[in-house]
Symmetry: C2
Subunit: 267 residues, 2 copies
């Protein structure tokens, strides 16, 4: 028994209607509202499940602790709690960024919860390694953590436009900067470190659920090689490059992401 | 708030007296009673903390679920809960087998809990990999899981003497076979898989706590190369080969393990 229910803890919202269920899982510095444009399209024909990871959005912040969330496994456990609570089987999971690996870890434990995984700009490892290009060297990540810790709000306003990569629509970067700034700095810093230091490469080959890897270009967090790497390692996977830029294409190029998801679902 | 306290959940026992605290953490198929001979030696001069991992010994079995314990991070979280409950700082952690990596993961999150880690027959990865000898191929592990699942009790009585490696003292193998047989088969099978498929090699270099790696010979689970690998990767570490055989030297050669621990503490 938990003092707050899973529904409250993760601010779970269920809407739409249809025989099939799509669970949308948000990424770092964001929350369930990031999916609003996809929700609008799919709600008439699908049951939609939205939630905020603990520490994000309107989740129960008292459930957060750096000890509990020191790895992605706890987020995966939360996701499986949610699936159990809603009795979800064979649901479609769309996971942005860190939620790609979170859904993978969940699917390794209880594959029957999911019929399909759709990763959007996900990565199993951000750090370069021998024979692996993740996009970052440790000293770059250390400088990144240092900047976050020195002045979180300054860091957020600098990071948002780079992540969004939409110079022509500065209002989108401003929106992401606001979401980031709304995150508790101590949580944002701890979570960023957990994500950027994670390494789930060895887990990819164990995934039994069919997976589509959607990848945008000019993504500060995920270089194109990472999508190719995952497609190579995940047994039933397909890499789809989408005509969108930046790390948050579901916000910056919503119709392209929506259409890519629709194609996955129709296939 | 949890329905059972941490003290009950992990069947925590505190005994002995002294300025310094030693936490003894048991391995797979075993429980806190495995440390009885070390406890006898150290209790007069140290405060001793004993516990059973969830799913083992007299822990609260209702706290176990394969979802919650799908990785070693949850065991590490439990260990940190215990340290917080007992307000342990700078304690000495002696971890057998899987508890080596469990204590490492805990020490990465809250290094101040520990002054020293002492691993006894621990391994960061059991599977061989390119450039790494862990001792097992995947098909060997699959056969191992298959045997556990086909007839757990037959498996336990076959595995115990191999793990104990004390042909001259069959009563020790019989004792370990009884502890294994007392474990719920579904839990033993799930936990064995979580352990044997784990890979924490990348975490070794991040450990900031001084670590002594005690390694016996003829250990079915941990070949000598693994101790050397850990000593090479963990920054402040020392490999100590002990004159004992098998995977449970704290039971089969208690005075040798006790004396090795005493030397670590005196250093």
């Amino acid at each position: 028994m938990k003092t707050t229910s899973i529904m409250q803890r993760n601010n779970v919202n269920v809407l739409g209607s249809g025989d099939r269920t799509i669970v949308f899982a948000h990424g770092f510095g964001s929350d369930q509202t990031a999916w609003r444009q996809q929700v609008e399209t799919f709600a008439p024909n699908f049951r939609i499940v939205l939630f905020d990871h603990v520490g994000a959005g309107k989740s129960d912040f008292s459930a957060y602790s750096p000890r509990r969330y020191s790895s992605l496994y706890s987020y995966a456990e939360d996701l499986l709690d949610l699936c159990a609570e809603l009795k979800l089987t064979k649901s479609i999971l769309v996971g942005h960024s860190v939620s790609g690996m979170v859904s993978l870890l969940a699917a390794l434990v209880e594959p029957d919860c999911f019929s399909d995984l759709i990763f959007l700009d996900a990565s199993p490892r951000y750090l370069n390694d021998v024979g692996y290009y993740g996009g970052f060297e440790q000293d770059e990540l250390d400088a990144f953590y240092e900047a976050m810790s020195a002045n979180y709000y300054a860091w957020a306003s600098g990071f948002a436009p780079i992540a969004m990569a939409t110079e022509d629509k500065p209002e989108l970067a401003a929106e992401f900067a606001r979401t980031l700034a709304a995150t508790r700095p101590d949580i944002a810093q701890a979570v960023a470190k957990v994500i950027y230091q994670s390494d789930h490469r060895a887990d990819l080959s164990r995934l039994k659920v069919p997976t589509v890897i959607l990848q945008a270009s000019d993504d500060i967090a995920v270089p194109p090689q990472v999508g190719e790497y995952m497609a190579d390692k995940i047994p039933q996977s397909k890499l789809v490059r989408i005509d969108a830029r930046g790390h948050l294409p579901h916000i910056s190029a919503p119709e392209i992401v929506t259409s890519a998801i629709a194609q996955c679902l129709a296939a």
